[in-house]
Amino acid sequence: MTEHALADSPRVLVIGYGNPGRQDDGLGPAVALAIEHLGGPRIAALDAYQLNIEDAIDIADHDVVWFVDASLDGPEPFAVHIMAPAASIEFTSHILRPEALLAIARQMFGATPEAHLLAIRGYDFEFIEGLTARATDNLAAAVSMLTGRLGLKDAEVRL
């Protein structure tokens, strides 16, 4: 890619969230780590236990945002959803939805990045470190898809 073309390419943010100490809940952070490992110009990856309101700053700084989370009962191996801003209020601070973060980014910073939710199917969520075998397969498929969408070269994914 030429320097000029690189400057015109969208800035991409991948936020993978979940708890690696709860088996397949670690799918989101695993994707973030894989993307970080592969690298790529103008692509940033963040891992987090859960979304937080200050993530709106990072979201506003990018043209494309991929939220990556484990899903309890979605399609296998993964599903991709287009996300739009939608404010909400919860009864606990332990929940913050991607739509709400997009709404905050729009309201506070006037930013409306293209946003996707990559929902990777998980199966077990006990207090155990490490993904299940089936979730690991789904992770590989999801990372392969995402690297393709992001224009990253095929590479061995460190899972």
Binding site: Y17, G18, P20, Y49, L72, I104, F125
Partner: protein, 483 residues
């Protein structure tokens, strides 16, 4: 079976927020034969399986592992476990650098966690009204009316996270503490970066308090009575009963401020607290031993911290505390909504403590770890953002953890939340209809405590509020889901 059901004197209304992964929490409102509210229970999924997760681990791994418990306050668990493991390695006092690094991390964590509650969770209710339309009763709606709130919310939170990151490294897995000390000091670069913003953060916290007080002034009767009742309180306190959120012995007081116990060190907690298990909940019900099962419940968290302490050691927060305590007209403050006011005072205090610590050269010290003679057991206390947190571990001669007992803040507030929901149900339930107003008010009461749910997982899935009306036989009369 039908005879038994007919004989039951009560009907139930079930409010059922389904958690994402395991089990569910729900609110059950029990009515008597006359259709009056008899009792309410807020059911929360407990940390099932956590003890098994810890057992067999090497004790020095535990301060890192326990962060998996909660995505909102991993730092609190990290620090409390480290304090317990200090005891295990025979260390009764860490070095000044280690102590201040841990305190810096802790106060940064409380600042950012309280900011989420105050701005994101509570401000829509308080500033827009409990019954404002759901389409606008959210942080975005608040920002439209009070644009500065969005700035405070995001940048105070960001500052707190930067403090945590400066002390502990990565945001998903801080690694500051090791048994007996810390891994690192604070670099001058980190110090100077934080110093650039800390005065602004203090000012924003003060402005947030002014805004909150304007809400209180708009309807003092609602503020004083909503979901409220007299109660006992418990927190740790520092020397001379000065507020200390990081370390100190336990103190508990009755609703009139009389001392129940004080000066109780962490390893004597079972002398004063009993953890009761009840059949209908996974949560334990701790209560004060001397007061017994029925009268021994208490509240923890910011409101308890204000009521239990005699002063705060930073000037702006101390002035705010003195002003706050006038709500009690010479006694304690019992208003449940006052949790939010107390939370903002805590934010001011945290910002002031951070500012003071950043000027302390001990943070650049190089004496980081102390060693001692191994002990088989360690207990520690800390005030987490939602209140008193206790970690208790036993460790065998092979350095493996053989047992773990945690009493988290939400567990301490278990009975108090039941009482608040009961009060709301008494005040707002009308007939057999599950109204939007009832749902809203139940949520407002729960938000005051901001309970930790089974919070270590965040897999996709909705968490709707499901309200089910049941008759005396347990049959559903009506159900209402709030997404």
């Amino acid at each position: 079976m039908s005879d038994v059901q007919t004989a039951r004197p009560a009907r139930k209304i079930v409010i059922d927020p389904v958690t994402r992964v395991e089990g569910h929490g729900k609110v059950t409102i029990k009515l008597n034969e006359a259709g009056e509210v008899e009792q309410a229970r807020f059911h929360i999924v407990e940390f099932r399986g956590f003890e098994r997760f810890i057992q067999g681990r090497m004790f020095w791994e535990v301060p890192v592992i326990v962060q998996r418990l909660c995505g909102i306050c991993p730092v609190s668990h990290h620090l409390c476990a480290a304090k317990a493991m200090d005891v295990v390695v025979g260390v009764d006092a860490v070095t000044p650098t280690a102590d201040k690094m841990r305190r810096l991390m802790h106060y940064g964590q409380i600042l950012q966690s309280n900011a989420v509650n105050v701005f994101h969770l509570a401000s829509p209710d308080l500033l827009l009204g409990f019954d404002a339309p759901i389409a606008t009763r959210n942080i975005v709606g608040v920002i439209e009316t009070f644009p500065e709130v969005g700035k405070w919310a995001i940048f105070i939170r960001k500052f707190g996270q930067e403090v945590v990151a400066a002390t502990g490294g990565r945001r998903i897995h801080p690694r500051l503490c090791i048994p007996g000390g810390v891994n690192q000091n604070l670099t001058v670069e980190h110090r100077d970066r934080l110093l650039k913003n800390v005065d602004q953060v203090v000012k924003w916290c003060e402005a947030a308090l002014d805004l909150h007080k304007s809400f209180v002034a708009s309807d003092p009767e609602l503020y004083a009575t909503f979901a409220s009742f007299p109660s006992s309180y418990m927190s740790i306190v520092g020397p001379n009963d000065e507020m200390d959120l990081y370390d100190g012995p336990l103190k508990a007081i009755t609703a009139d401020g009389s001392i129940i116990f004080e000066g109780v060190p962490a390893d004597h907690y079972r002398d004063v607290i009993i953890e009761e298990v009840r059949s209908w909940s996974y949560m334990k019900f701790p209560h004060i031993r001397s007061l017994g099962r029925e009268a021994g419940w208490y509240r923890v968290g910011p409101l308890a911290q204000m009521n239990c302490c005699a002063s705060i050691g930073t000037p702006i927060a101390e002035a705010a505390r003195a002003d706050f305590m006038t709500l009690g007209a010479g006694g304690l403050v019992h208003a449940t909504l006052a949790y939010h006011w107390a939370r903002i005072i805590n934010m001011i205090h945290c910002a002031e403590v951070i500012r003071d610590l950043l000027h302390d050269d001990d943070l650049q010290g190089t004496d980081l770890v102390v060693t001692g003679d191994r002990r088989p057991e360690g207990v520690a206390l800390i005030e987490a953002p939602r209140g008193t947190l206790l970690h208790h571990y036993t460790v065998d001669e092979r350095d493996q953890v053989t047992s773990a007992n945690l009493i988290v803040s939400t567990t301490n507030n278990n009975e108090a939340m039941n009482r608040s929901v009961t009060k709301v149900a008494v005040d707002y339930l009308s007939g057999m209809e599950i109204t939007e107003a009832l749902l809203n008010h139940v949520e407002v009461a729960i938000r005051a405590y901001d309970p930790c749910l089974s919070c270590a997982t965040h897999a996709l899935g909705d968490m709707p509020l499901i309200v089910t009306l049941e008759d005396a036989d347990g049959a559903m009369i009506a159900s209402r889901v709030k997404q």
